[in-house]
């Protein structure tokens, strides 16, 4: 019976993060909501039916072969751990701690060659990943001289006079997240983990003069504004 309660708790926790709130986007991609809701319902149902079955069982209980396993596997107790983590720690999306740890350069995006031209004059909003792709892989250098707006969180840099505007990218879940960083020049660094919108222009760095270890394209900021964390924290 205890373990049916574990299942009930787990199902409840899965539904709490997927059906009843948007917390699940901190952990997995947004398209994963439906499978999560279905899985949460199934687990909850299994748990509730199990509790009901054990509840109806008459006193002497534990007959031979009851459930095949009277006590169930001990390892099942570990299923309480994610439930406890979800409620007690309520893990946030990955922030500057994770972004700073990951020193390996992300794979350089393949040159697409099909980026749309950016209108001059107004500042164009774009994902950080697209900015990096245009900065590194666009033979037409469509970013040159154009104003862009990027949203991300602040990661301090070891180098003087710059900090990173960062967005984590997921392939699947937060365990494989890697940071997309753009070095921001010409503006004082806000506190780490603050979400900001930076307006500025790309500082071109030719491929052949890329110093070793430089993985982030640079951008000269004209305006830095604090913003709320976007609904989907990853890219």
């Amino acid at each position: 019976m205890a373990q049916s309660l574990v299942l009930t708790l787990l199902g409840g926790a899965v539904l709490r993060v997927s059906a009843l709130s948007d917390i699940y986007v901190n952990y997995v991609k947004p398209g994963f909501r439906l499978p999560l809701v279905v899985a949460g319902l199934v687990i909850l149902l299994l748990g509730v039916l199990g509790v009901a079955k054990e509840w109806r069982r008459p006193y002497p209980g534990k007959g031979p072969g009851q459930d095949g396993h009277g006590h169930g596997p001990w390892v099942a107790w570990l299923l309480c751990l994610p439930v406890i983590a979800i409620f007690l720690i309520s893990p946030p999306p990955l922030g500057s701690y994770a972004a700073e740890r990951d020193q390996t350069p992300p794979p350089r995006p393949a040159p697409v060659g099909a980026y749309v031209a950016i209108a001059p004059g107004t500042a164009t909003a774009m994902p950080v990943g697209e900015f990096i792709g245009r900065a590194w892989g666009d033979p037409n250098q469509s970013l040159r001289g154009r104003q862009v707006r990027l949203v991300g969180f602040v990661v301090p840099s070891k180098k003087k006079g710059q900090w990173y505007l960062t967005r984590m990218q997921l392939r699947c879940c937060a365990a494989d997240a890697f940071p997309l960083k753009v070095a921001v020049l010409g503006a004082a660094a806000p506190r780490a983990d603050t979400w900001v919108e930076v307006t500025g222009t790309w500082v071109p760095t030719p491929y052949d003069r890329l110093p070793k270890g430089t993985v982030a394209p640079e951008m000269k900021a004209t305006r830095v504004a604090k913003v709320n964390q976007p609904g989907e924290p990853y890219e």
Partner: protein
């Protein structure tokens, strides 16, 4: 009064308590709802009071990764467990003896290939394989099924394709290498194995249990079992992710054969369910594709929870021989397939 009632226990005023079979619950039933209520209350209050203060960056990063692995794996786990319970309960035992060839050496590849259509994670495949043996299937064929089913079933292949977007060759390599290892291990057991090494369990169905009830019990048991071991894997993976500097992994990742051995060992230690291991493999971005393939091939066939399950089901004498055999075959075949395909 005594002339009106006959069977009701209140008819006898001398009886101090109702008989035990009347209206009483099993002992734990009286305590557990309160424990449960206390736990739910603790979690809800803790969510309000404690969560704002647990802000150490390392702890939060660790917990995000831990919860993310669990959340990502759970739907795959539920799907696999549901299908495996349905197959165990609703497919009649006679089907297997009719479907497999009589000669053992021919039955091994057929049983291995049958893993393609029978989903289930490795925790489920051990009981299924022991059930097959109890119903008269040659042990070596049942073992080939045991190894192949968690590695090459559709759920796992889809999960692998999702985890490695744009790399369909990884799915192909995983399929080919896993099937080859399963068939080779089955043949090796047929050739070298002695009957005394393997304890064939006797699985009698619970009398009087309806099919639906058996299905739900199997599913509950498997999801608790597999889910628990999945948490072990998520704990280890999250801890390694936060504690081990990436530069160490990167340093190992550069050495060709060593990196394969390291990831194969990691697969044994992490014991991640096959429905979720592709996602962990994809996150080990500093390693070569061959090393990741070894991780994917070894994981569903040899890991700590499987060794425990196999030793518990078939006996220690079996596990002591079968586990090293499978591990060596898995590494060899992964190197070969990785060299050819990746």
């Amino acid at each position: 009064m005594s002339d009106r009632t006959t069977l009701d226990w209140t008819a006898d005023p001398d009886s101090p308590v109702p008989p035990p079979s009347w209206g009483r619950r099993a002992p734990e039933a009286q305590v557990l709802p309160w424990v449960f209520a206390a736990l739910v209350g603790f979690l809800l209050i803790g969510n309000l009071l404690l969560a704002p203060h647990l802000t150490a960056p390392a702890l939060r990063t660790w917990s995000t990764i831990f919860v993310a692995i669990c959340v990502q794996a759970i739907p795959f786990l539920v799907l696999g467990v549901a299908l495996s319970a349905a197959i165990t309960v609703f497919v009649p035992p006679s089907f297997w003896t009719r479907a497999l060839p009589r000669r053992p050496y021919a039955a091994v590849p057929v049983a291995g290939a049958a893993g393609l259509v029978l989903p289930g994670c490795e925790c489920a495949s051990v009981p299924v394989a022991s059930g097959l043996m109890a119903r008269g299937v040659t042990p070596s064929a049942a073992l080939a099924f045991l190894l192949a089913s968690p590695a090459i079933n559709p759920v796992v292949l889809v999960a692998t394709a999702v985890a490695f977007p744009g790399q369909p060759v990884m799915v192909l390599a995983r399929f080919a290498a896993s099937l080859a290892v399963a068939v080779l291990a089955g043949w090796a057991w047929q050739w070298l194995g002695r009957p005394g090494w393997l304890r064939i369990p006797d699985r009698a169905p619970v009398p009087g249990e309806s099919r639906m009830s058996a299905f739900l019990s199997a599913m509950r048991h498997d999801s608790l079992h597999a889910g628990g071991f999945m948490v072990v894997g998520a704990l280890t993976a999250a801890t390694l992710n936060v504690v081990v500097p990436r530069s160490w992994l990167a340093a190992v990742g550069d050495v060709p054969v060593l990196s394969v051995l390291v990831l194969a060992t990691l697969a044994v230690l992490l014991s991640i369910c096959s429905e979720a291991d592709a996602f962990v493999a994809a996150s080990l971005s500093t390693f070569s594709p061959t090393a990741k393939l070894a991780f994917l091939v070894v994981g569903p066939m040899v890991d700590l929870k499987l060794i425990a399950l196999q030793a518990g089901t078939f006996g220690r004498a079996f596990a002591a021989r079968f586990v090293p055999l499978t591990f060596a075959l898995a590494i060899g075949v992964s190197l070969l397939v990785g060299w050819v395909l990746l």
